[in-house]
């Protein structure tokens, strides 16, 4: 064990670190873009939509990410009609193959996480919104999505951390992200412990960052609950109620 080596390899891992961060951020962002509409459709009463999306999430959650990555990378490369199509210019590149696979996989998990959050929104809140005459779109935007997302947030933060670690699989399709770079350095130095410990430290740093950001986001989104908790006395409640009714111009 050589402590100096751990410090020495940290800068060498920098380039791989950037690729890891980029892959994770991009696939989480695209995954979320996929998941929001799918989660809404998944919770919609429409049978067709709900079951089609269930099939997608079932396939992507039911098979290992590595298998999906190999299917998209090596699988696509085997088929002549894909190689001669326009899509090959994208599927030819390992980076895009990884991004597509990770996004679809992350999207599937996030869809189910968000669905859980949306289902957990109290029906009373939605009925109240209906009673106030909000349209479907407005209800989704003002009530269902914010409340659902808040409820799903802890599970979602977990999923983002898992995505960070899953991005290491990109090294199996020649992408030199952090794990791939670490393995390359191990091959040059033959010192697996030091190099992998350095890589693990960086992963821990990233995870700390993600957990911290989501922690703040959670507190931010739960602000209204905290305030209610602090001033939980009847006078302020009455005053608040009076304010609301005044604002909505409804007679008490």
């Amino acid at each position: 064990m050589n402590l100096h080596l751990i410090v020495d390899v940290l800068p060498l891992l920098l380039e791989g670190m950037l690729l890891t961060a980029q892959l994770t951020a991009a696939s989480v962002a695209i995954g979320l873009l996929i998941a929001v509409p799918l989660a809404l459709l998944r919770t919609s009463p429409s049978f067709v939509f709900s079951y089609t999306i269930l099939l997608y999430t079932f396939v992507f959650r039911g098979t290992p990410l590595l298998v999906q990555l190999f299917l998209i990378y090596y699988g696509a490369g085997q088929l002549e009609w894909i190689r001669s199509s326009a899509a090959w210019s994208i599927l030819r590149e390992p980076y895009w193959c990884a991004l597509i696979t990770f996004s679809l996989n992350n999207g599937a998990y996030t869809t189910e996480i968000l669905r859980g959050g949306i289902r957990a929104v109290p029906s009373g809140e939605i009925e109240a919104a209906k009673a106030l005459g909000m349209s479907y779109a407005l209800r989704i935007r003002r009530i269902v999505l914010p409340a659902g997302f808040r409820l799903a947030l802890p599970a979602y933060a977990n999923e983002v951390v898992l995505m960070l670690k899953a991005s290491s699989l990109a090294s199996t399709i020649t992408l030199m992200e952090m794990t791939g770079t670490a393995r390359k350095i191990v091959a040059q130095t033959f010192s697996p412990y030091e190099v992998f410990i350095a890589a693990a430290l960086i992963y821990l740093g990233f995870t700390f960052l993600i957990v911290h950001v989501f922690g703040r986001l959670e507190r931010h989104m739960a602000k209204h609950q905290q305030r209610a908790g602090l001033k939980n006395n009847s006078r302020s409640r009455v005053r608040a109620a009076a304010k609301i009714s005044a604002a909505q111009k409804v007679a008490p």
Binding site: G77, R92, F190
Partner: protein, 279 residues
């Protein structure tokens, strides 16, 4: 090193090293990769087979050792030897100065002869493949051949198996003019060469032979000179732990014996269809 500051690290090390090293009289466990045909691969039942395995079996017979082959991923094969999971490596591993810093080697039991293979569809200008470049010698003419090769491959995507001499060579000699992709297995490199994700690959002749003779291999061909020496080392040897000197001696004696009676050459002809063992 202050060992009191590292209790956790030592606990970890103790857990891993605790498996202990080779004991005399016991079965010699030989690690092979199992994905580097015809050197070594696994048959349909998962048993290792290939040149390395046949040579190993012949050597163990000569040296009166009980041996057992097991597969281990190439990436971790040297650490696995050093922590005692195995007692020897026979995986088409070239003897190099760098590797010698961490493990010991027997005498070479085969030679190295590295070639580039390029996709035919690239339409690169002809370059004779009977030329030879020995990186250890400093002949002007050979440096010229290497430079010509470098100019022709400029801007191309070159695939190599990671953690190999081929990777080290490409990085050192062509790193500034080509894009390098590293693969964990030669099989995957071949797939990408066929798919056209990479333009060329560098590996040992024995590895290419199997690929070029396959149906998929028709899209590519050997290109440029045979490259050996220097980074590629004196040849293929058995990897052993530094302290296992007795085992090394027994293997060395056995290698000389099977070289002398022609059985090593017979195994080479069987697996490579060529003599890759005689100088």
């Amino acid at each position: 090193m202050n060992r009191f500051k590292l209790p956790l690290a030592f606990l970890l090390a103790a857990l891993i090293f605790g498996q202990a090293s080779a004991q005399e009289g016991k079965t010699i466990k030989i690690a092979t990769e199992g994905a580097f045909p015809p050197w070594n691969s696994v048959d349909t039942s998962g048993k290792p087979q290939g040149f390395d395995i046949d040579v190993g079996t012949a050597l163990c017979q000569r040296a009166k050792l009980t041996c057992e082959f097991a597969t281990q991923a190439w990436d971790g094969i040297i650490p696995a030897l050093n922590v005692g999971k195995f007692d020897a490596i026979m995986a088409g591993m070239s003897i190099t100065e760098k590797r010698k810093q961490v493990i010991a080697f027997s005498k070479p039991y085969a030679l190295t002869s590295n070639y580039f293979v390029v996709r035919k569809s690239l339409g690169l200008a002809e370059m004779a493949s009977h030329l030879k470049v020995n990186l250890s010698s400093q002949v002007e003419e050979e440096r010229g051949i290497l430079q010509a090769l470098k100019d022709k491959l400029k801007g191309k995507i070159i695939g190599v198996q990671g953690s190999t001499n081929a990777e080290a060579f490409v990085r050192e000699y062509f790193g500034d003019t080509v894009e390098i992709r590293t693969y964990d297995k030669q099989d995957n490199l071949n797939l990408d060469l066929v798919a056209g994700r990479i333009d060329a690959g560098l590996a040992d002749y024995s590895v290419w032979k199997a690929f070029l003779e396959s149906k998929d291999g028709a899209v590519a061909a050997l290109y440029g000179p045979r490259i050996s020496g220097g980074l590629f080392g004196p040849g293929i040897g058995i990897g052993l732990r530094n302290q296992d000197r007795e085992l090394a001696e027994r293997f060395n004696g056995a290698i000389e014996a099977i070289e002398a009676d022609g059985s090593l050459k017979a195994i080479s002809l069987k697996w490579f269809g060529a003599d890759l063992v005689s100088n």
